[in-house]
């Protein structure tokens, strides 16, 4: 959690999150159809930071069930964000590493929370600069509403309508001290 967070509710525990990811992995497999000719053209793109770990977990689950390895790329959309002129400090630019050509690929973009849609917009611009994907789909663990752009997720773990001032925190054991999803009140958010 962030230092100022006041926890209002736990939305998912570790088991819920794992089941949600199982379900999402199956949805991705339906899209891919691993037996098909097209399957080789699929890839997962994890968005920094937690989307990357989610993408790897989904990759492992698909591998487990289908014996099919979907490549994973890592994307940091910081350079494409539109709120540069509204921030006091620059966010740290993190790694982008996509070890395959995105042109003609079917991409599944993966992030933890869908909110205003601005990050997804930035990510799509970044991917377009890397090539011409055949398609881009979007997956998020939680859709918290309050969209500011005409963007929706193709695969969603849970819809959680929130109020301004609330935040949704997805925490993963790979980088956090706990695992699960929480709804919090953050006094610093508008």
């Amino acid at each position: 959690m962030e230092p100022q967070d006041v926890i209002k509710a736990q939305l998912m525990d570790a088991r819920d999150l794992d089941r949600t990811l199982d379900r999402m992995a199956r949805r991705i497999v339906e899209l891919i159809d691993p037996g098909s000719e097209e399957a080789r053209a699929f890839a997962l793109i994890g968005m920094q930071t937690r989307g990357v770990f989610l993408a790897r977990r989904l990759q492992a689950k698909i591998q487990e069930v289908e014996g099919f390895e979907v490549p994973v790329g890592v994307l940091d959309a910081t350079m494409y964000r539109d709120d540069f002129r509204r921030r006091l400090k620059q966010p740290v630019v993190r790694e982008t590493r996509i070890p395959f050509d995105v042109t003609e690929r079917h991409l599944v973009l993966i992030d933890d929370v869908l909110y205003t849609g601005r990050t997804v917009r930035a990510a799509m611009d970044a991917l377009m600069d890397l090539g011409r994907p055949a398609s881009i789909r979007f997956l998020a663990i939680v859709d918290r509403g309050l969209r500011e752009l005409p963007i929706r997720a193709d695969i969603i773990g849970r819809d959680v309508p929130t109020m301004p001032g609330e935040e949704v925190r997805v925490r993963l054991h790979e980088i956090d001290d706990r695992e699960g999803v929480w709804l919090v009140e953050n006094p610093r958010a508008k």
């Binding site: 790897r56 490549p71 890592v74 494409y80 921030r87 006091l88 993190r94 790694e95 600069d129």
Partner: protein, 328 residues
């Protein structure tokens, strides 16, 4: 086969923003700030390998390049970095401008201020000109070389190039060879390298090394063999041919005999890497075969220059109307 990716080690810096508002020199930059710039530059280097080598990050930011002194690679490198970040750029060079009509730096600066410029990159023959500029304009100022004082982005790109070959600067042995007295590159490198814990040795004729420079925490020798013994990176500086008339050393030939790195040195020191801020005088600081040697990483330095300048512009750019009281 899909590749697996490990990003767990990416967040290595301990700070997320620079303490300084300008980049005037590296003397006051902390190890954390320098590491943040290097880490950011590594991510921008990836952008330079894409089919579309341009990101919209600094859209709407206006940068002026004030080059009061001739410069090719630094100016081009800054211009490219600005364009790669989608900033709007204006160029200004001393020849063919109002400066040749007698305008002072202050008047030029105030005119620029009136044009609402966000960032200024300045190269000037007078040490301290960038510091002075910060007092007459609100723009963020980046020093692109001021007299014999500092050339911080050059030193940063040198560090980035070294970091591609060594995992840490702690205990790294770097020798800087040549005209230390007149070199802003040497000074910026000394500050940054000692801040990061490297051992710096200076080597050159007595006339070209400032008296008492050991105070900066460096070792001084006048023998090339001593400078190359146990050395990881040798950075040769350009002998400024225009100083030939000033009797600082007898002849270029004699300089090369005593301080020039030759193929023989490369054989005797099989791990030694060679760097040079350019432009190289072949056959003076470095024998021609050394310039083309596989362990000469001079062109890597040039590539890294654009990435470093992108990182510096990105980290220093600030939203309009924000006048934070950060130390200069």
């Amino acid at each position: 086969m899909a590749e697996t990716i490990d990003t767990a080690d990416t967040a290595t810096t301990s700070i997320s923003a620079l303490e300084h508002r300008h980049l005037l020199g590296l003397a006051t930059y902390s190890a954390e700030e320098i590491q943040l710039i290097l880490q950011t530059a590594r991510e921008f280097r990836e952008v330079l390998e894409r089919p579309i080598k341009r990101v919209p990050t600094l859209r709407g930011v206006t940068v002026v390049n004030l080059f009061f002194e001739p410069s090719t690679r630094t100016r081009i490198s800054f211009e490219l970095a600005e364009k790669r970040l989608s900033a709007d750029t204006v160029n200004f060079s001393a020849s063919g401008s109002s400066v040749s009509k007698g305008e002072t730096l202050k008047d030029t600066a105030q005119n620029i201020e009136a044009m609402k410029i966000d960032m200024a990159v300045i190269r000037h023959k007078s040490p301290g000109a960038p510091h002075w500029l910060t007092r007459c304009v609100d723009a963020v100022v980046i020093n692109a070389g001021d007299g014999a004082h500092e050339h911080p982005t050059q030193a940063l790109l040198d560090l980035l190039t070294m970091s591609e070959h060594f995992s840490s600067f702690k205990g790294l042995n770097v020798s800087i060879l040549g005209d230390i007295t007149h070199s802003r590159v040497a000074r910026s490198n000394i500050f940054a390298l000692t801040t990061l814990g490297a051992n710096v040795t200076l080597c050159g004729p007595k006339t070209l090394i400032p008296y008492d420079i050991e105070h900066l925490g460096v070792r001084v020798t006048h023998r090339l063999d001593e400078a190359l013994e146990g050395c990881d990176v040798a950075m040769a500086l350009r002998i400024q041919l225009e100083r030939q008339g000033s009797s600082l050393f007898p002849s270029l030939r004699e300089y090369h005999d005593h301080f020039g790195i030759t193929l023989d040195h490369m054989v005797r020191h099989p791990d030694l890497l060679i760097m040079h801020p350019g432009p190289v005088n072949r056959g003076v600081e470095l024998a021609s075969e050394v310039v083309d040697h596989e362990r000469a990483i001079i062109l890597n330095q040039v590539t890294n220059g654009v990435a470093i300048r992108m990182a510096v512009l990105y980290l220093l750019a600030e939203p309009p109307g924000e006048e934070e009281s950060r130390p200069g």
